[in-house]
Symmetry: C2
Subunit: 199 residues, 2 copies
C-alpha cells in the first residue's frame, strides 16, 4: 500500500463530511422543520436519476455509473463556495469564480489520478455537453421542484417566486425528459392555484 | 407515458425524503453538533466506495454501478424500522423482522419491476454472498469507524465501547480490504490511548 496515497484519500473522505453542513433552499418534505443539506440532496438526486432514467431522451446511451458519480460529486465545491440561491442575482455574479477556486482546493486533496477524475466529472457537469451531464442537470432541477412543491411551496413563498420564473428555470426538463413536461406544468399551475407561486 | 407508473415513482421519491430524518449513532466530524442521518450516510458510503475501490480484494470484478445502488438503497428500510444500534442487543432481536416488514411496505410503493430491483438489491446486501454486497458491507463498517474516530470517539465514549468490540465488529474489513487492516488497528490503538475506546 502507498501510505501517502491512502492518507490523501482518508483526508478527502473526512473533508467532505462538511457537505452535511451546507444547507440549501429547500426544506424537508415531511415537516418543513429544517433546510435540506447538500449531502442529503446529492443522495436524493442519485436516487431520482435511478428511478426516472427511462424518461431521459438519452436513456439507452447513458453511462449511469458516470451520471451517478457526477450527481454525488457536483456539489462538493459548495463546502467552500456555499450554496448559491438560483434567484440571487448578486451572489450569482462571482459564483463561477468561487466554485472554481473551491474545486482547486478540495479536489487537490486527492491523489493526482483521482483529483483529475473528480475535476473532469465536475467540469463535465458544468459544461453540459454530454448526455450524462445533461441528464444530471435535469435531475438537479426536478428533485428540488418536487421537494418545494411537496413542502407547500415553502421556498417559493419565502422569496416571492413567480410561475414564469419557475417555467423558465425548468425548461431544460422539457428538453431532457420531454414526457415529464406536462407534469411539471401541472404542478406549477397547481402551485399558483394554491398560492405556493405568484402568478 | 404510463401515468400510474409515473405516479408510483413520484410517490416513492417523495416517501424516501424521510430518510433525512432517520438519525444514526455517529455525529458530524467538524463540530459534533448533531447526529448524522441515513441519507447523508448513504451518500458518504457511495463516495467512500468510489474512492477506496482499489483496496477491495474484488476490485477488478466488481460491478460498481450495482455496488453504489446497493449502498444508496440499503438503509431506506430504516424509514419504518429505525436505525438499530449495532451494540443494542435488545433492539437487534427483532431487527430482521422489522426490516423485512419495512422493505415490503416501502419498496412496494414502486412499479413492480423497480420494486423487484430494489428488493433484490436490498436482499443481495443482506445476504452477503456477492463481491458487490461484501464490498458494500465493508464500506458500511469503515465509514462509521472513520467518522467516530475523527469525532474523538464521540459515540464510543457515549456507550462505553471497548477496543475488543470494535476489532470484532470490523473484522470483515480485514477480509474485504486486507490492506486497510493495519490502518484500522492503528486507529483502534490510538483510540484506546486517547480514551476514545475502553481497553
Amino acid at each position: 500500500m502507498d501510505k501517502k496515497r491512502f492518507e490523501k484519500q482518508i483526508r478527502f473522505i473526512v473533508e467532505i463530511d462538511k457537505l452535511k453542513t451546507i444547507y440549501r433552499q429547500s426544506v424537508l418534505i415531511e415537516d418543513n422543520t429544517r433546510y435540506e443539506n447538500d449531502a442529503e440532496h446529492s443522495w436524493h438526486l442519485a436516487m431520482t436519476a435511478i428511478l426516472l432514467l427511462e424518461y431521459s431522451k438519452d436513456a439507452n446511451k447513458l453511462d449511469m455509473l458516470r451520471t451517478i458519480k457526477m450527481l454525488l460529486i457536483h456539489d462538493i465545491i459548495e463546502i467552500d463556495a456555499g450554496d448559491t440561491y438560483c434567484y440571487d442575482k448578486e451572489a450569482n455574479r462571482d459564483k463561477a469564480e468561487r466554485e472554481k477556486r473551491a474545486a482547486d482546493r478540495i479536489f487537490s486533496l486527492l491523489p493526482d489520478d483521482q483529483a483529475k477524475e473528480f475535476f473532469d466529472l465536475w467540469n463535465e457537469f458544468e459544461n453540459q455537453k454530454t448526455p450524462e451531464a445533461k441528464f444530471a442537470a435535469v435531475i438537479d432541477r426536478f428533485q428540488p421542484l418536487l421537494s418545494i412543491y411537496y413542502s407547500q411551496g415553502y421556498t417559493w413563498k419565502e422569496h416571492g417566486i413567480t410561475s414564469d420564473q419557475e417555467i423558465e428555470r425548468n425548461k431544460i426538463i422539457q428538453e431532457g425528459m420531454p414526457e415529464l413536461w406536462e407534469y411539471v406544468e401541472d404542478i406549477i399551475r397547481d402551485s399558483v392555484e394554491n398560492g405556493f407561486l405568484r402568478e
